[in-house]
């Protein structure tokens, strides 16, 4: 906990101010603020339709905000020149909800795709780098030769992570990394994430519904409620009396996940 409090003082990697997102008459974000500091694992939670993925897409510059600013490393994402934008894009890795691996390429080719685009290296080196990234996420050399359709759900998530890591990002965005995984695979993914986070000194922004993942990995959590974000440590959120947050963290599923009680032991 002490680490995350110290980190709060640091310059944010991502700073969102007054974000408004509208779809027709429907207002999803209404003046949302968010800060992500270096070297933390930041979880984003919220009910269905509260715009978690929209927020992620806005931060990534895939969608323009209707009002407000999004800064990454102090640069306004919307106002970047094409050149700066391209170098910014290279500085982070993203995994999408369904993996979004290119279906006509093998896993190894998927990993090599961004490397090949930006850093022309020899075939043998690219091969080595693909192996390295596969090994980092716990996949075998032979898995690299498979096509995405031949992989299990857990392997798709790992392969997508390997591709996101290929350009050696300092910042990683994960959209529901453990959704659709069995609890054992999900736990293994959590451990992998923690391991990579400590070894590669990554900053991670993660959308997740998985309470186990939240309790195990996240140092701070942002909850989207009524178009705003309430950011706190897990301990803080457990004390929070906002109805949705209370239901979320004290509901039957949270208790089943060993949520509040267990969390007090480990975090308190």
């Amino acid at each position: 906990m002490a680490a995350s409090i110290a980190a709060t003082a640091a310059v944010p990697v991502i700073r969102v101010r007054g974000l408004v997102s509208r779809f027709g008459a429907q207002v999803v974000h209404n003046g949302l603020d968010m800060d992500v500091v270096p070297n933390e694992i930041f979880g984003i939670v919220g009910g269905s339709g509260t715009g978690k993925t929209v927020l992620l897409r806005t931060i990534l510059g895939l969608r323009s905000p209707d009002a407000g600013t999004v800064e990454m490393y102090g640069q306004d994402v919307q106002r970047l020149a094409a050149v700066d934008r391209s170098s910014l894009v290279r500085s982070y890795g993203v995994t999408f909800q369904n993996g979004a691996l290119i279906s006509s390429l093998t896993v190894a080719q998927n990993i090599q795709l961004p490397l090949r685009e930006y850093y022309p290296a020899s075939e043998s080196t690219l091969e080595e780098l693909a192996d390295l990234n596969l090994a980092l996420v716990g996949l075998a050399h032979d898995d690299g030769k498979k096509f995405p359709s031949q992989l299990s759900g857990g392997m798709v998530k790992r392969a997508a992570l390997a591709r996101a890591l290929a350009l050696e990002p300092k910042l990683l965005f994960l959209d529901e990394p453990t959704a659709g995984l069995d609890p054992i695979s999900a736990a293994a993914f959590d451990e992998l994430l923690l391991y990579l986070h400590s070894q590669l000194r990554l900053t991670v922004v993660m959308i997740t519904h998985d309470l186990d993942t939240l309790f195990l990995t996240c140092s701070r959590v942002g909850v989207i409620v009524d178009g705003h974000m309430i950011t706190d440590t897990l301990d803080g959120l457990l004390q929070n009396q906002t109805p949705w947050i209370r239901d979320y963290f004290h509901g039957a599923r949270a208790r089943a996940a060993g949520g509040p009680a267990a969390a007090k032991d480990t975090h308190g």
Partner: protein, 373 residues
Amino acid sequence: MTVLELEGEGDDWRLHLGGDWSLAALTQIEAQLKHIPGGLHGTLVCDWSRAEHPGIGPVWALLLHLTGLGASRLGISHTGDPPHFLELLQKLQSGEHAAPAPIHDGPSLEESVGKVGRWAVLQGSEARAVIGFFGRIVTVFREMFSRPRALRPSSLARHLYETGVTAIPIVSLIAFLISVIVAYLGAQQLSRFGADIFVVDLVTISVLREMGVLLTAIIVAGRSGSAFAAEIGVMQLNEETDALRAMGMNPIELLVVPRVLALVIALPLLTVVADAMGLAGGGLLSLLNLHIPLPQYISRLRESLSPTTFWSGLIKAPVFALLIAMVGTYRGMQVRDSARELGRLTTVAVVQSIFLVILADALFAILFVQIDF
């Protein structure tokens, strides 16, 4: 700029790493790694004190290269603030199975013969699959008599609209233009013999027997054949067809038969439209270019027609429709796994259905001549 420098002799080596060691410098680093001589032994100390922004990829390449160089005779150690992930990489490397590169020889005789054999077997099994597909369609058709619900009227109506009604403008335009072209070029030749009036025969017979139906079929193959393949193909990729099967519904009945049936109904109707527009085009050109008044054009048209001319064209339409719809839906059902397959099979669907239509047209031509139809 040099990123690495080897120093020392005998059993004592020191590798100075300097400059940019990030992923961006990978190409350069790779090239310089090749200059490290092989056959080193003793100890090698990597000095990281002057390396800037070391990246995981380049460091990994260095580690692999050094291991490849010295095998077991070289003791490698690191000094001078090595990158924080070095330990991780070393751990990965020691756990790494040396994956031997597969050895590629040229294709042997055995392989080449085997390839031909595999191709032949593949063609055989594909032919069987096509016949099986046709059989399943026929089965559904037969069921319809005992179970009218299998007809799916709403789906049929949608496909009739999409393949038939929306195709009317383009089919009309093309039939009109082609018959104008035929009449125009024909008139150039025939007027030399003073046989202008035979332009009417030329237009009538060519449009009604061949052009009308063939052009319509080719346009529909391009429009609807590709749409069938792509639509069903995407459903395959999204596992929608599997979902239907799992709910006990037959994708052939739900997806294939309505499309086949709709096209078999729509294509003859479109052919009638094309025929009419073709004759109109011929009439217009005769009027403007050859000064044949409309009543004379129509009476000449009647004389040139034998009772079978119109039907010999129209009768081909349902057959062409069946070919186009079956090829389109069959290729759509074949889509598996990837977006590339979808594109490939959509292309195959259009090319094959056009080819089959023209092949069938040739067979019809021979048949009609033989039976004097």
